[in-house]
């Protein structure tokens, strides 16, 4: 490409660079500058001394990290919550979409869709707040109901045993409807003649759902499943933080909540940055691997 061409494209592009500039500054200052800040994971960072004067300690924090029993608890909790999302939450929107596809009364369909999408627009504070109003041991609706019938109260919010089931149930409640959209879009694009052919062959509605609708979702399911695998390190930070309390910490503590508590609240900046870095690097490797895998499946990845 001749230089004059580049020069003319640059000149022509000037107004566009002006449009890009504010956004580019955002990415530079609030995304890339913090990435540089990761270097404090290799320091004993003291806010008072600042980045320049804080002493370098090499990989000390990482050595401590791998020897820390807390670290393995965080790792286990993250994996368990992700597995729950993957195997319990993931099928819910698929089933919902398949059922909605069978409901042919339009008014009914629209009503179900409108209502099941709604929780997506509620914040986690509201959702966890509602769960407190329903499940708390003294004032909660469920326990009031149990007590009124002479049954014992259940410590749904403070007993560690209930944390994981509640975690995944709340996810299903909040996001199934919204996550079904992508499957509904795939179902809407099925060639109607396929259904007609199935009817001609005398297939029942149940069989049609299993052998026409479900196979049409196959690719979307595989891709989304792989991409979700790539998100293994992300367990929904706000949800976990809000559901967490001193009594369920053994099962509810994940990397981000640990970093928040010990970094921001206690001030162990360098060590928790190392914890966060470990999580981000594993996350990056998983996403890149998952995306490569999805592409090899002959599908488009996310990028």
């Amino acid at each position: 490409m001749p230089t004059s061409d580049i020069r003319s494209r640059l000149r022509r592009g000037l107004p566009l660079y002006a449009l890009i500039l504010p956004g580019a500054l955002f990415f530079l200052l609030f995304r890339y500058l913090p990435m540089g800040g990761i270097l404090i994971a290799f320091q004993d960072f003291e806010p008072f001394d600042g980045f320049m004067k804080s002493p370098w300690v090499g990989f000390d924090h990482f050595v401590r990290l791998f020897g820390d029993p807390d670290f393995w608890v965080l790792f286990r909790n993250t994996l368990v919550l992700s597995a729950l999302n993957l195997f319990i939450f993931f099928p819910a929107p698929i089933i919902l979409a398949l059922l909605l596809n069978e409901a042919r009364i339009r008014m009914f369909r629209r009503t179900v869709q409108t209502i099941t999408y709604m929780p997506h627009f509620l914040s986690w504070v509201v959702v966890v707040g509602i769960s407190v109003l329903l499940f708390s041991t003294q004032e909660g609706a469920i326990n009031q109901l149990l007590a009124a019938n002479g049954w014992g109260r259940i410590e749904l919010l403070t007993d560690s045993n209930y944390f994981r089931p509640l975690y995944v149930l709340m996810n299903i409640w909040k996001e199934s409807g919204w996550s079904a959209i992508i499957f509904l879009a795939a179902l809407a694009s099925i060639d109607p003649t396929l259904y007609e052919a199935a009817v001609m062959d005398g297939a029942s509605r149940w069989k049609t759902m299993l052998h026409v609708s479900l196979p049409a979702l196959r690719n979307v399911i595989i891709i989304l499943f792989i991409l979700r695998l790539g998100q293994t390190m992300e367990t929904g930070f706000e949800q976990v933080l809000l559901m967490q309390n001193s009594l369920n910490l053994d099962v509810s503590d994940v990397f981000d909540t640990y970093v928040y508590r010990n970094g921001v609240l206690t001030g162990e900046y360098s060590y928790t940055t190392a914890v966060g870095l470990f999580k981000s690097v594993i996350g990056l490797v998983l996403i890149v691997a998952a995306n490569g895998w999805a592409k090899r499946k002959g599908e488009e990845g996310v990028y």
Binding site: P15, L33, V126, G129, S136, S204
Partner: protein, 288 residues
């Protein structure tokens, strides 16, 4: 209309039954909260669980709308959402438009750099330290700036701008309009349905912002509604302390009323946007 066999009828019947059950499971918890917010404190404390109150009352709301901390945080949330969404839409649409022109030098690199931020980030502490370094703690700019652009929205919007016919651009260039004029007077007005959808996404993000506010705002007078609600409901339940913040005593109906007031604004506006995202606009438009 073709007649259905017995087994088909049973199948379709159970489809409707399951869908009705699922819809009830989604709706009932919220409905319960709405209903009890209209009950009296006395009835809730004496009767325990019920779905239909004997006396309906607006006490909880009257109480809530006289509570200074609630009103303050409601106003803070409105302000955060209003300015935040404006910043989001302005920065996202401008950058998306700039990156949508294939002849812009350096576009590929910038796209890669944007994409990378979706895969990797500095983490909570380094971002916090940067915000602190810029002196943004306890300022709403910490919230507006740290979440100014959602890369996913930027990429989808860029794809949308790319789908504009290039004749449009050529015609306006022959007419002697500049790029900025073209963007402001032609492209943006034609993009209103897409802008509306992203406005909704950003409205939700801003109204629901919780962790960033918790992290960056120490001054409780600046807290948005989400932090106020969490303080009132979840912290109090965890520590089993007296349910009282600064002399404000919360009976159950007042708590429910606060949940309703926090959730309602978005639930009211969302149906107006629904037609835009029903047809899977997120699907397929991602690649640019």
């Amino acid at each position: 209309m073709n007649r259905m066999s017995g087994s088909d009828r049973a199948f379709v019947g159970s489809v409707y039954a399951v869908l009705i059950a699922a819809t009830l499971v989604v709706a009932l918890p919220f409905l319960y909260v709405v209903i009890v917010s209209f009950a009296t404190k006395a009835e809730v404390l004496s009767r325990g669980f019920f779905l239909v109150p004997k006396t309906w009352s607006l006490d909880a709301y009257q109480y809530l709308f006289r509570e200074r901390n609630f009103l303050l945080s409601f106003r803070n949330s409105l302000w955060i959402t209003l300015i935040g969404t404006f910043v989001n839409i302005a920065l996202t649409s401008m950058m998306a438009y700039g990156l949508s022109k294939p002849w812009v030098v350096g576009r590929k690199t910038m796209n890669m750099l944007v994409l990378f931020t979706m895969l990797f980030n500095g983490g909570i502490i380094p971002t916090y330290l940067v915000v602190n370094q810029f002196g943004l703690l306890d300022s709403y700019w910490s919230i507006w700036l740290t979440a100014a652009i959602a890369p996913f929205n930027l990429i989808v919007m860029r794809g949308f701008f790319q789908s504009f016919p290039s004749e449009l651009e050529e015609a306006s260039r022959i007419d002697g309009c500049g790029e900025l004029y073209l963007f402001r007077k032609i492209v943006l007005p034609l993009s209103m349905p897409a802008i509306a959808t992203f406005t909704l996404f950003y409205l939700v993000q801003n109204w629901n912002t919780y962790f960033n506010a918790l992290l960056y705002l120490n001054d409780s007078a600046k807290w948005p509604l989400q932090v106020f609600l969490r303080q009132m409901l979840i912290e109090a339940a965890d520590s089993s302390m007296t349910l009282e913040i600064e002399g404000f005593e919360f009976g159950p109906p007042v708590k429910m009323a606060t949940v309703v007031a926090t959730a309602l604004p978005l639930l009211v506006i969302y149906p107006f946007f629904q037609k835009h995202f029903n047809q899977g606009m997120l699907l397929g438009s991602v690649k640019g």
